[in-house]
Every structure is written in structure tokens, then in C-alpha cells.
């Protein structure tokens, strides 16, 4: 494998590759990144539409959804005018699949798969990933896992309906949910997805460690690369634990073991421990790349060095380290020893500190800048705003006594949508920002701004009132809130949320339209349209297989904006302007 990694400098002049080797089984990290992007966006649509169905049911319980009547009976009940009514079992399947798809097939493939693949080699000045074949395999195993996951919609019994957390014993015995193969396929798909991510992680780490261009010390790497590097380490160590747990769950379901079934001597809470031991690092796997990308974008569009580069890198390392010892905060009410609850509360409070550093340093970056409110910048700011709200609501749950009340209510749903769905803002920021590099054309800025304004308003409209519901005691994962007398008075909020969510969903059409229109008809992009410093903008557009015409030499850190040494307000990492800067730290 090592020889394929180094032979890439020469790939530039190879004969034009065939369609299959160029678009399908491509070994080029940039093409693999694009593949992840298209699959991820497709899954975003599916996951989003599932969310819309969830919202419909919550606002207008058991009223027919227009156009859903074509689905056959146990899954959807027929309603008037070709509509269909969502039964409780289907509702559970809807949010389970919504969450699973959004997390494992949207945010991970796009934030880690797309941007990890596309950006790491370009940003560190490498020709490709360390293991291009492994990289291709990673995409295809991931794609197969997606197919397996989606195929569970079509098996008898329907897809998994035990929540994305798949708590045993509900998930460990088919009779409890009535889902046989749906849950099997869910397990198998997640295992495959884990293998795919592991291959990616091995690639990213090796590439970052071994293939940085001359002069690219660790502390000259853009924070995007730092974040993806740390994410890869978390992936590498967290996913295998999920795989082990999933294997045990599958054995419980298919091989007659009873790891999680008390009647055979098993322990249901063991599943929760294993799941969250993976699950909490997982949420930081989702958010770290978003933080790295946001840092880069804020610095670029403030035309100002990032505030406290080292603090930013170390706070991400601290978050990653601490994320291993907080998992129990999901289990305060689970019957786990309450003394452990106290310990996990302490660690959870501590993990908020490095996040605080990040937020304040982002503010510090804006301070004194010369801020350009481009579309990527707007979305990056939107991410900061959402992360702030979602992070602060996390403090409520971190306090064990308060969690007694708000656990498993919409307060939690509000919290994690502000953080996980908030990541979608960083995702859009990144797509708008790197689109010129990925597709050689510019996206339309006006449409982008419309997209941002609508998305920002209706995102908050959809998720902020969920706090009110949660404070009112509204449980999550319930099919029909009107079955409860204490929730019924709050029902107007549910309708408001649903309207906001529907408009939020519809607003994404501005993105889709802009994206596909620009793909074919956008204005041709310059090499460095944002006047940014990082190495990917030094590579030609389109960058050939092998990326750089000459291996870049790095003279300085990535954030030398408005440096007094040059008249322009940017100073690319690989520009040699004389000895004085070569010695400069980071």
C-alpha cells in the first residue's frame, strides 16, 4: 500500500481515466469526498422528510398525511382523499430512522467523509490520502451500509422502531417491538457503517501524521485539519465499542444469547453503558469538525488571525479526552448507582469549559476584524449561535436533580437539535465555502442569503419552543401528545413548531436549487475566491489528481490575515516572502 501512496505526484499526466474509475471506483480523495457529499445530501432529504412526517403527526395527531395513502395497511392506515394516517408503530419507526439516518448517514458522511476526504490532503499539502484504495473501500462500504439501512423500510414488520439508542430489552427481542428483520438490518447497517468510518479514520490519521508538506508542523495545521484529526482518533477508539455492543445485541436477537435479557441472566443497563460509552464521544465526533470549519471561516471572513490558536487546538483535545468519561449523564435516571450519577455530573460540567473557550475565542476573533458577511460566514455565525443555545441547555441536564425532571422530555430534544442539527449550519457553511474548489464554480450568493435567513429563522422557530414544551413536561417519543391532559394546553406550540419545521424543510429547496444550478451553470470560480491562506487555495482549480503542481513549502500558520508584512490582507501559507517570516512561530 505504501507505494501507491507515494506514486501520486506522477498521476497528474495519466491518460484520461474511464468513467468508472473516475466517478465510481475513484481513488482520488477529492472525488471520494464528492461522492460522500452527494450520498449525504440525498440522505439529508430522506431524513428530513421523515422528520416532517414526525412533525405532522405531533401537530395534527392521527389526521391523514396528504399523499401518504399509497402505503399498505399495517404501516399506514388509509385516510380520505388518498391521504394516510400514521399508526403508533410507524411513528416510532419514523423517528428512529430519522435520527439514525441524520447522524450516521448525513452528518458523519458529510462532515467527516466529505470534508475529511476533500480537505485533509489539500490543506496539509499532500497529493492524496495515505491509502487511496482503503479510502475508496470506505466509501463503498458506507454506501452499502446505507442501502442496507434503507432496505429495512421494505421488510415485513418495517424498520427498527426502538429509538436511535436502541435500548435493550426493547431492541433485544423481536416480540417487544414486533420488528424482526428491520432491527437486524439496523444492527448490520450500523456495523458496516462503523467499518467504513474506521477505514476513513485510519486513513486520516496516517495522512495527517505522515504526509504533511515540508514546514507544515502540527501547530501550523488549520483548525479544520486539527478537528478532523481529533475526530478520526475518537472514531477509531469509539466505534469498535459500538460494534462490540451491536454484535452482542445481534446475538441476543439471533443466536439465543441473553447478554441484555434479564430472564437469561443478562443486564439491560450494560447496553446503555456500552452504547453511551460510544455515544458521547460520537456527539463530539459530530460537532468537532463543525467547530474546526467554523474557526477557519470566522478567521478568514474577519480577515484576522484566529484568536488563541493554541487554546483552540488544545480545547478540542480536551473535549476529546473528557468525552470518554461523561457517558453516564445519559443514564442519570436509568437506575444506575446514583453515586455514579454524581461523578458523571462533575465530569459533564467540566467538559463545558473547553466549549466555553471555543465560544469566547470565536468572539475574540470577530473583535477588531474586518468582517465580510458572505454566505459561508453567515452560516458559520449561525452555527456559533446554535451551539451556544444548545450548549447552554446542556448545562440544565448536566445538573442531576434538574435532569430528573427534564430527562426524556422535549427539553432534551431541543438541546440536541440545537447542537446536532445546528451542525447542519456548519455543513452548509462548508459547502458554500468550498464549492468553488470542489466544483470549480461559484454558488449564487443572493440565493444563499435567502437560504440562510429562512433557515435561521425557522430553525429557531422549530426548535426553540421545544424548550417550553420540555419545561412543561412534554415527553419525547410520544405518538400523540393529546392523550395527556397536562400536555394538551400546550398544544398550540406543537402546531407552531410543525409549521416552522415545514417551512424550514421547504427553505432547503433554495439550497438544492442553488446547488444543482451552480453545479452546471454557476459562474466559473477563481483559484482563491475568498482570498484565504490555507493550502487548498494554492492548488489549481480544478486540482489535478495529485493536487499540487509542486509540493508546497509551508512558511507560516494558516491565519496570517492582515499581517503587516504584506500590503494585502491575506498571506498564504506557502508564500515565501523572505527569511524573516520563515522563522515565525505557528
Amino acid at each position: 500500500m505504501s507505494e501507491s501512496a507515494v506514486a501520486h505526484g506522477a498521476h497528474g499526466q495519466h491518460a484520461k481515466p474511464s468513467f468508472i474509475s473516475h466517478y465510481i471506483f475513484s481513488l482520488d480523495h477529492k472525488m471520494i469526498g464528492r461522492q460522500f457529499l452527494f450520498v449525504g445530501l440525498l440522505m439529508l432529504m430522506i431524513g428530513g422528510i421523515l422528520a416532517m412526517l414526525v412533525r405532522w403527526q405531533l401537530a395534527w395527531p392521527e389526521s391523514p398525511v396528504p399523499g401518504l395513502g399509497f402505503i399498505s395497511e399495517p404501516y399506514i392506515y388509509p385516510g380520505p382523499n388518498g391521504g394516510g394516517i400514521i399508526p403508533p408503530q410507524t411513528y416510532n419507526a419514523l423517528f428512529t430512522m430519522h435520527a439514525t439516518i441524520m447522524i450516521f448517514f448525513v452528518v458523519m458522511p458529510i462532515m467527516v467523509g466529505t470534508f475529511g476526504n476533500f480537505l485533509i490532503p489539500l490543506m496539509i499539502g499532500a497529493g492524496d490520502m495515505a491509502f487511496p484504495k482503503l479510502n475508496m473501500l470506505s466509501f463503498w462500504v458506507g454506501a452499502i451500509s446505507g442501502v442496507v439501512m434503507l432496505s429495512s423500510f421494505f421488510v415485513p414488520g418495517g424498520p427498527a422502531a426502538g429509538g436511535w439508542t436502541g435500548y435493550a430489552t426493547l431492541s433485544a427481542k423481536a416480540q417487544y417491538t414486533g420488528v424482526e428483520w428491520g432491527q437486524h438490518l439496523w444492527i448490520i447497517a450500523l456495523m458496516l457503517n462503523g467499518v467504513s468510518s474506521l477505514m476513513g479514520a485510519i486513513n486520516y490519521i496516517t495522512t495527517v501524521v505522515n504526509m504533511r508538506a515540508p514546514g507544515m508542523g502540527y501547530f501550523r495545521m488549520p483548525l479544520t485539519v486539527w478537528s478532523l484529526f481529533i475526530t478520526a482518533i475518537l472514531l477509531l477508539l469509539a466505534l469498535p465499542v459500538l460494534t462490540a455492543a451491536l454484535a452482542m445485541l445481534l446475538f441476543d436477537r439471533m443466536a439465543g444469547t441473553s447478554f441484555f435479557l434479564p430472564e437469561g441472566g443478562g443486564e439491560p443497563l450494560l447496553w446503555q453503558h456500552m452504547f453511551w460509552f460510544f455515544g458521547h464521544p460520537e456527539v463530539y465526533i459530530l460537532v468537532l469538525p463543525a467547530m474546526g470549519i467554523t474557526s477557519d471561516l470566522l478567521s478568514t471572513f474577519s480577515r484576522k488571525p484566529i484568536f488563541g490558536y493554541h487554546a483552540m487546538a488544545f480545547s478540542m483535545i480536551a473535549i476529546a479526552g473528557l468525552s470518554w468519561i461523561v457517558w453516564g449523564h445519559h443514564m442519570f435516571i436509568s437506575g444506575m448507582n446514583p453515586l455514579l450519577g454524581t461523578a458523571f455530573m462533575m465530569t459533564t460540567m467540566v467538559i463545558a469549559v473547553p466549549s466555553a473557550i471555543k465560544v469566547f475565542n470565536w468572539l475574540g476573533t470577530l473583535w477588531g476584524g474586518s468582517i465580510r458577511l458572505t454566505v459561508p460566514m453567515l452560516f458559520a455565525l449561525g452555527f456559533v449561535s446554535n451551539f451556544l443555545i444548545g450548549g447552554l441547555s446542556g448545562i440544565f441536564m448536566a445538573s442531576t436533580p434538574v435532569d430528573i425532571f427534564i430527562h426524556d422530555t422535549y427539553f432534551i430534544v431541543a438541546h440536541f437539535h440545537y447542537v446536532v442539527a445546528g451542525i447542519i449550519f456548519a455543513l452548509f457553511a462548508a459547502v458554500y465555502y468550498w464549492f468553488p474548489k470542489m466544483f470549480y464554480r461559484n454558488m449564487n450568493q443572493t440565493l444563499g442569503k435567502v437560504h440562510f435567513v429562512l433557515t435561521y429563522i425557522f430553525f429557531n422557530g422549530a426548535f426553540f419552543p421545544m424548550h417550553f414544551l420540555g419545561v412543561g413536561g412534554h415527553m419525547r417519543r410520544i405518538y400523540n401528545p393529546l392523550q395527556y391532559e397536562f400536555i394538551t394546553p400546550m398544544h398550540d406550540w406543537n402546531i407552531f413548531i410543525t409549521w416552522s419545521a415545514l417551512i424550514l424543510g421547504a427553505s432547503q429547496l433554495f439550497f438544492l436549487g442553488n446547488f444543482f444550478w451552480s453545479l452546471f451553470a454557476g459562474k466559473k470560480a477563481e483559484q482563491n475566491p475568498w482570498q484565504a491562506n490555507t493550502l487548498e487555495w494554492s492548488a489549481p482549480t480544478p486540482a489535478p489528481h495529485g493536487n499540487f503542481l509542486t509540493t508546497p513549502t509551508v512558511y507560516r500558520g494558516p491565519y496570517e490575515y492582515s499581517s503587516p508584512e504584506v500590503t494585502e490582507d491575506w498571506l498564504p501559507q506557502d508564500k515565501d516572502i523572505g527569511a524573516s517570516t520563515a522563522a515565525k512561530a505557528h
Partner: protein
């Protein structure tokens, strides 16, 4: 840095001269000479992931083991300590042979390399065969996955290791075949080194599992 009185203009800075070896093909450029080459680093990463996988399973094992008053649970067959002990020695010996294989590769003795790889694979296969035989007997004595958590843990942990041995045998077979065809030389034997890394992991894991599952 503030001392540099004249600010440069970026466009005045000449672009770097193209490096002929990149534009016209030529020998590959290795910017930094890394401590560990990609292949070995990659395998270390993979083993890190494997370690976490087994840590997950072992963690689950300990949860049950530590909370059990009597272990193995009553009415469950005992595990064959003696045979498996001998088997452990067999497997440990294969770590030595794979080590010798790397030694042979380092000095370019292809015949020895091939022989040692062959021994390693044979020892691995023998280990697996004995394990398989014992498994058949255990099942016969009534230790099944569904008979108790004990049985489930036994088959899951030992089975997971067995799958890794099978994987190792396939890996060894490929490298054996490559070695016979003269794929490795004194200068380039990374393939043998990574084989040793993986096989050593599989071997080293075994005494831990033996100690936990059979003896503890």
C-alpha cells in the same frame, strides 16, 4: 517581526520553481521522512481499534464475572483447561516463528522467510483445529450460546478471537504466496512487518482471554 519596515506585495513574490521530479514524473517525493511508514502506522491504528473492540467485549465479560457469586454458574460444564493450555503454548510459539520470518526478510533469506511464514500459518491452523474440536465437545456437553450468559460470553469472546485467527491465516497465506514469488527484498519487506504486527496482536490477545475466560 514588526521590524520589517517594507510590506511586501503578494504578486511581487515570485512563484516557486516547478520541481522537475513532480512535473515530469521521476522518483516520488517524500516531504518528511516519517518515523513509521504509512503501512505500519495504518496497522497500528487498526490494532488500536481492535483493542477497543475487545476491550468492549472484555468489559462486558467483567460486568458479569464480577457480579456473579459462583463462576462458572452451576450446572454448566467446565472449560478444558489443560488442552487449551497446550494450545496456548502452540499459539505463543507462532509469535516466535513470525518474528523469525521478519528476521529472515531483513537479511534477504527468502527461503527461510517462506519456511517461517509457513510454520506460523501451520501453528495457527493447528490452534484453530484444536479449538474447533474443543468447541464441538463443549457443545456436546451442553454449553451453548443460549444455555447461559456464561456460554454466550464464552462463544462470543473466544469466537471473536477465532475469527481474528482466521483473518490472520488468510493474511499469512497471502504474504506466504507473495514471499514465494519473491515479492520481498532486504529493502522492502513492509508486508512481512505488518503481518508480524497483526499476528503478534492476535497471539498476545490470547493469553489475556485464556486467563479471563478459562482461568478467572
Amino acid at each position: 517581526m514588526a521590524t520589517s519596515s517594507v510590506a511586501h506585495k503578494l504578486d511581487d513574490v515570485p512563484p516557486p520553481a516547478p520541481r522537475p521530479e513532480l512535473v515530469g514524473g521521476g522518483p516520488p517525493v517524500r516531504p518528511n521522512m516519517p518515523l513509521l511508514n504509512n503501512a505500519r502506522l495504518g496497522v497500528i491504528m487498526m490494532l488500536g481499534a481492535e483493542l477497543m473492540f475487545f476491550a468492549g467485549l472484555i468489559g462486558a465479560f467483567l460486568v458479569f464475572r464480577l457480579s456473579a457469586q459462583v463462576w462458572p454458574p452451576p450446572f454448566q460444564p467446565r472449560l478444558p483447561l489443560g488442552v487449551t493450555g497446550v494450545n496456548t503454548v502452540i499459539l505463543l510459539f507462532s509469535a516466535l516463528t513470525v518474528h523469525w520470518a521478519v528476521g529472515a526478510a531483513r537479511v534477504g533469506q527468502t527461503a527461510v522467510l517462506v519456511r517461517q511464514l509457513g510454520f506460523t500459518a501451520a501453528l495457527g491452523a493447528l490452534f484453530l483445529a484444536i479449538q474447533g474440536y474443543e468447541w464441538a465437545r463443549m457443545i456436546h456437553f451442553g454449553l451453548t450460546t443460549s444455555s447461559s450468559v456464561y456460554g454466550g460470553l464464552f462463544y462470543t469472546l473466544i469466537g471473536a478471537h477465532g475469527v481474528h485467527v482466521i483473518g490472520g491465516l488468510i493474511w499469512l497465506a497471502v504474504v506466504y504466496w507473495q514471499a514465494r514469488r519473491g515479492r520481498f527484498s532486504k529493502k522492502d519487506f513492509v508486508g512481512v512487518q505488518t503481518t508480524r504486527m497483526y499476528w503478534t496482536f492476535v497471539v498476545a490477545l490470547w493469553p489475556v482471554l485464556y486467563g479471563l475466560v478459562y482461568l478467572y
